[in-house]
Structures are given as C-alpha cells and as structure tokens.
C-alpha cells in the first residue's frame, strides 16, 4: 500500500531546456526521493578531443557549453599556452576578461530568466532575456557570434576591439546596467518570489563545503570561494571581490547572481577603461609536452581542465571537471522533502548546465 506517485521528471520536460531525468517519488506533493538519470547529452567530447589536432580542440572546447563557451575556450587555450610556454599579450588578456565577464552577464541573465520561469513569473523571464539581448549584441559586434564566439585562440585573440567599439562598449555596459537595475528589485524584494524561494532548497555552509559545491551555490551558502581570487589572467590587476550571501537557499542564490551581474559589468568597464595597447596575439611554435591543470571561474562556478599531451599534435588525455558536475551532489541533498512545485526552482537554483556536466 503506497501513496507514492512516481514521476519521470524529464528528460523531455518544459522546465528543463536540457534533458535530464529525475525519478521523483512524491507523496501528496512532497518529494520523498529524487534519483537523477543522466546521459542524455553525453557526447563523448573528451574522447573526441583526444582524436583531434589540438588546435581544433579550441572549437570543441567552446562547445562544451554554448552559454559560457568563451571561458571554455580561454581555459583550453591557457592550458595549451602553459604547455607551449607562450606569453599572451596583455591586451589579449584584458579582452579575454571582457568577454568572459560578458558571458557571465549573459549567462546570469539567462539564468535569472529561467529561474523566474521556474516559479511561473513569465514577465520577469521576458524582461531578463530582453536585457540579455543587449549583451548578446555586444558579443556579436565584438566577437562575431551571439553565443559561440570563436575569438579566443592559442596565443591570444582573433579579433581586436577598435577604439570606437571600445567606447561603444563602455556606453553599452552602462545601459545594460541601467536596464538591469530597473528589473532586478523583484529578485530581492518581491513578495511572491520570496514566498517561493526563501527557505527553499537550503544548503548549509558545512554541507556546501563538504559536498563540494562551487560557484554561486557555494557563495550563496556564505563561503567566499571564487577562483577569480586566484588572479589568473588579468584578474590580479582589477578590483575584484567575490559576491557572498549567507542564506544558503534559493533566494540567496538568486541574489548572488543578481549582484554578480552588476559586479561583472563593473569588471568589464574596468577592463575596457584600462585596456592596454599592443598586439593581441603571439605566434607560437613548439611541441606539446607534459600535463597541466587549469582552474577558472565559470558563471556556474569553478571549472577544472586537465590536459596531458605527449609529443604529437593530439592530446593524450583531456578531462574537464565542470561546475554543474560538482553541484549535483548538493542538489540531491536539497531535493528530498521539498514540494513538487519547488523541484524546478531548486534544480534551477544550481543553474544546471547538463551539457557541460555530461560533455
């Protein structure tokens, strides 16, 4: 005699743009058990990369995820640059920072929209995506693609920003900030949003650390963990301070991301204002040899690349530890005991990117 409803939540499900399955056991509307089923977007990318020429892998790495594709290509390139011991020109480094923060802006806006959608706030979703289009326009103008830029390359960047563009960018960033500030208050104050998110999906500081949460999930639980603090690239030269919230619930995770958008816009302006003159690309030569780890902060948290190369043009080993992968154990910790209606909100609150988690 059981009162449980067993629901296949996904893979094809309107709240998940990406397929993932949660086998939910629900009593009344309380979730008593959640078992994830993965593998719907596993493309075998890491293995595919081992078959490729290492230069081609830039484009492959970009397509780990279409959302923060730029940071993937940056991380990959910086791995290869380390192996080849290539000096990247400072202007290229600053440009990389601009684009990587830009992708953080668009990723967070995208997420805020989907998050709003998960609790049925359609108009807010629309507004977030509307503002996001401005950042996409910037990417397209500066990089050539709306989401997948293909501008980062080994040794630097493929496209430069001319002076007009730089100024236009600074202005545009200010406008995005203005637009965003108009629509961001609900995430902090709206009654119905609070009702849906405060105290939902709580992850304590201890759990966050012991389960290895990363990125905004970690920071929303009160831990100031951010790989950018390591000061890779030009991060050591700009003013940066991670955004931390103490609540540990969905509401805090939302707030962290809202504030990070503002911080990212700030970083972009800083970088653009101090953009050094000079080359954007160093030519490189030489053989790959050895292995390297590289960590960088994605919109969703810390990501880790491992590249091992022998002496030929393809890689021996290529591994990516993506942030969503790290955030799934905390997610499974949060789900049991919540209401069915909370499931989309909680799942989205870690900003799952299945395509990166499964590669």
């Amino acid at each position: 005699m059981s009162f449980r409803t067993i629901i296949p939540f996904g893979p094809q499900h309107p709240v998940f743009p990406e397929p993932i399955q949660l086998k939910l056991a629900v009593e009344d509307e309380k979730v008593v058990e959640a078992i994830p089923g993965l593998g719907y977007v596993h493309r075998g990318l890491e293995k595919g990369a081992e078959l490729n020429d290492y230069v081609k892998n830039i484009y492959l790495a970009e397509r780990v995820c279409g959302i923060c594709s730029f940071i993937h290509s940056w991380t990959y390139c910086s791995c290869i640059e380390t192996l080849l011991q290539v000096e990247v020109p400072p202007r290229a480094e600053f440009l990389r920072l601009v684009f990587s923060e830009l992708s953080r802006v668009h990723s967070h806006l995208l997420w805020l929209g989907l998050y709003a959608d998960a609790f049925g706030f359609e108009s807010l979703f629309m507004q977030c995506w509307r503002v996001r289009e401005r950042s996409l326009d910037m990417q397209e103008a500066g990089g050539g693609g709306r989401v997948i830029l293909s501008t980062c390359t080994i040794g630097g960047m493929r496209k430069d920003l001319d002076e007009d563009m730089r100024r236009a960018f600074i202005k545009e960033v200010a406008e995005i900030r203005r637009d965003f500030q108009q629509i961001m208050t609900p995430f902090f104050e709206d009654y119905s949003i609070k009702k849906r998110t405060v105290g939902i999906g709580v992850l304590t500081k201890e759990d966050a650390q012991s389960l290895g949460a990363v990125g905004p999930v970690l920071r929303a639980s009160g831990v100031a963990g951010d790989t950018r603090l390591l000061g890779y690239g030009p991060y050591r030269e700009v003013d940066f301070e991670p955004v931390v919230e103490a609540g540990g619930d969905c509401h805090s995770r939302g707030k962290v991301r809202v504030r990070e958008v503002l911080r990212a816009l700030d970083l972009i302006t800083q970088a653009l204002e101090r953009l050094p003159e000079g080359e954007i690309k160093t030519n490189f030569r030489g053989k790959l040899n050895g292995e390297v780890f590289q960590r960088m902060e994605q919109p969703r948290g810390e990501m880790l690349y491992y590249v091992k190369a022998g002496s030929n043009r393809s890689l021996d080993r290529f591994r990516i530890r993506t942030p969503t992968f790290a955030n799934i154990p905390p997610l499974l910790k949060m789900l049991p005991g919540c209401d069915l209606a909370d499931v989309p909100v909680i799942v989205l609150s870690i900003d799952p990117c299945i395509s990166c988690a499964e590669r």
Binding site: N52, V55, K56, E140, A141, S150, I183, E189
Partner: protein, 123 residues
C-alpha cells in the same frame, strides 16, 4: 509587486520586438553567418580540410573533387585563416532553411588554376 512599474511601463511603450521576417535588421559587420566559397583560386592544398574541426570538407586531390557540406560547417572561420588563396570567407548573412540537405561539390583540376564551379549537385 515590484514588477508593476516595469510592466505598466512596457504597456505604454512600443514593444521592442524586432519584426524579423517583415523588417530585416542588418547583422553586425563581423557577424559570422555562413561560409562562402569562391573556388576560382583554389589550389587544392587541403589546408582547409586539415584545419576544419567539423570535417566539413572532403577534398580528393587526385580526382579533382572538392566537397563542402554546409550542414557540417560550424562557421568557426579556421579554414578562412588557413587558406593561402583567400578562397573562403565568412559572410554575415545566414543560410536559409532547406527541406533537404545538399553537399556542395566542385570539380577542380588539381594543378590547373581556374575552373568555374560546377554548381551544387545532389550527391
């Protein structure tokens, strides 16, 4: 509740929608829409084939066969940089949808220089 101002504001403003099929908005100059090929200068060096991450080219030098599959190309531009003869270029416009995919095929005499493209054929 905090949305009230925003939505009312929207109501009394023009919608921001870009009415795409009816009004066309020029893509940015540098925008990567599609790869265009101009095969007149091609020397069948296969540099493009080697660099392409998506395997969009299939070049058979001996037979003079040059195939390009627009439905594999991810428009990364790697081949454009690689081509010594500047045969390839990325255009900001995008490809229209099709009901059936066709590979573009050129027959090029390997050493000879100019051959007009034989046009698209169905494989």
């Amino acid at each position: 509740m905090q949305m009230l101002a925003t939505v009312l504001n929207n109501l009394f403003k023009r919608p921001v929608t870009r009415e795409y099929p009816y009004r066309y908005r020029e893509p940015f100059r540098s925008s990567k829409g599609r790869l265009v090929l101009d095969m007149r200068e091609c020397i069948m060096c296969t540099a493009c084939e080697k660099r392409c991450p998506a395997g969009a080219f299939e070049i058979k030098r001996k037979e003079g066969l040059f195939k390009f599959d627009p439905y594999s190309c991810v428009v990364c531009g790697a081949c454009v940089e690689a081509c010594p003869k500047k045969c390839l270029d990325v255009d900001s416009d995008w490809r229209k949808p099709v009901g059936e995919m066709r590979t573009e095929i050129w027959h090029i005499e390997p050493p000879a220089k100019v051959k007009s493209p034989a046009g698209a054929e169905t494989p």
